[in-house]
């Protein structure tokens, strides 16, 4: 019982998301990971923004391991094909097309790996073929366990790679997931199953517009969440008013500070350059602990 809160926060998954791009997801996620590491607790940073992972620029991990991620796409043995066309009929994405006789085309980038064509083929002419869509890299950044997905250029299976990255979440620590921007499939995949979501926004009409979309998404997914306002002081008060009206907690207001922008633009962690912000991030971590204690008692929002 003594370690109750500690044990709970050590088994928490937090997604740092946003509607709008460029609001500071990575800034929040990397600095939060650093402040937790400073307490000596185990923390994982997982970059799920696999189309453009950039957390590594700030955390500068020592990559120790890399592994390829593949998905199965169909490969047709035309000698066995009788031209029945069943594969073509079942495919909802036109990734396999029967033209005539035993002329069958496959489009790997359209395939969603459902395996339907393999199952309906009466002559076993279709075999799964691995298609390399990206890599997952593992390393250490000081006390932080670092994991990132990197989608290969020209590939479109973003959610598939994110799903693989999430398999490396270790259950015994605070896992911080850096989520892609927007509100589409990659975001849903990244946020699925987390304990809590931070929606990072900026106090501008653009920030508010996209925040509303993101709030709609997390509510639809039934995920508990709070808002973080970055570059606080610019724009207007509409984001705060919206949060108040919607009864959404604002967990952190990071001020619009030119020195933060300078640290960011030189690829540095804010806490390393501007020690006064240690307090802000420590407070954020404390709030996460209390949130976790609360979630345990209640059903999800």
């Amino acid at each position: 019982m003594f370690n109750h809160t500690l044990a709970q926060v050590n088994e928490m998954k937090i997604a740092v998301a946003s509607g709008k791009g460029g609001t500071g997801k990575t800034t929040i996620a990397t600095n939060l990971a650093c402040i937790v590491a400073k307490t000596g607790r185990k923390v994982q940073y997982l970059d799920c923004d696999v189309e453009e992972p950039n957390g590594h620029i700030f955390l500068k991990p020592n990559i120790e391991k890399k592994q390829a991620v593949t998905v199965d796409v169909p490969e047709v043995d035309l000698k066995k094909c009788t031209g029945c066309g069943k594969c073509s009929d079942i495919c909802q994405y036109s990734a396999i097309v029967h033209l005539k006789e035993n002329n069958v085309l496959t489009f790997e980038q359209l395939c969603h790996s459902c395996g339907g064509c393999l199952r309906v083929c009466p002559t076993d002419a279709i075999k799964p073929k691995p298609l390399n869509i990206g890599d997952i890299e593992f390393g250490k950044a000081g006390g932080i366990d670092f994991v990132q997905g990197k989608l290969h250029i020209g590939n479109v299976r973003t959610p598939s790679l994110i799903k693989e990255v999430k398999k490396y979440i270790e259950g015994d620590c605070l896992a911080i997931l850096d989520v892609p921007p927007g509100t589409s499939c990659p975001v849903v995949e990244a946020a699925k199953g987390v304990d809590y979501v931070f929606l990072v926004t900026e106090p501008t009409p653009f920030g508010l517009n996209d925040l509303k979309l993101a709030v709609g998404l997390v509510r639809e997914m039934n995920l508990p969440f709070a808002v973080i306002i970055n570059r606080y002081g610019i724009g207007n008060e509409d984001v705060e008013e919206y949060c108040k009206a919607e009864n959404i907690e604002i967990m952190l207001k990071l001020p619009d500070d030119r020195r933060i922008a300078e640290a960011y633009s030189s690829g540095r962690i804010i806490l390393d350059v501007l020690s006064e912000y240690n307090e802000e991030f420590s407070e954020l971590y404390e709030k996460i602990k209390s949130v976790k204690a609360g979630i345990g008692d209640k059903t999800r929002l």
Binding site: S88, Y93, S94, A95, L99, K100, L105
Partner: protein
């Protein structure tokens, strides 16, 4: 010879649809008898694979040539695998396109003339 023309409407005076995969409809016409049939394109708002699905739909009509504005790589590959001749850059009305084709003034192309997702408006 049966040919398929991407069309914004269902009559010969409709404009040629500049998009292949997401064309509003396909007008199939027998150039000797001028017998006409129209198929609505189910792939106008497809999430993906519109080019391939539309190519398959055209192939199933028995057309031997396609007249359109623009055609992407997946559709072009599918049409050429089925031995269908492709004519891109076609403008004006469907009737005008047919006349140009009949008079031999259209040049067949070997390859797509636009990238994937060209006609999705993104």
């Amino acid at each position: 010879m049966k040919i398929a023309i991407t069309s914004t409407g269902k009559t010969l005076d409709s404009q040629v649809d500049p998009r292949f995969g997401r064309a509003a409809c396909f007008i199939i016409i027998a150039t000797d008898t001028m017998e006409l049939s129209v198929i609505d394109n189910e792939n106008v708002a497809a999430a993906g694979g519109a080019g391939v699905s539309s190519a398959k739909a055209v192939i199933d009509t028995g057309a031997q040539a396609v007249l359109t504005g623009n055609c992407g790589p997946n559709a072009e590959l599918t049409l050429s695998a089925a031995g269908i001749k492709l004519y891109t850059g076609v403008k004006g009305t469907v009737a005008e396109a047919i006349e140009l084709f009949k008079s031999g003034k259209l040049a067949e192309v070997a390859g797509p003339n636009v990238q994937s997702h060209f006609g999705t408006g993104k």
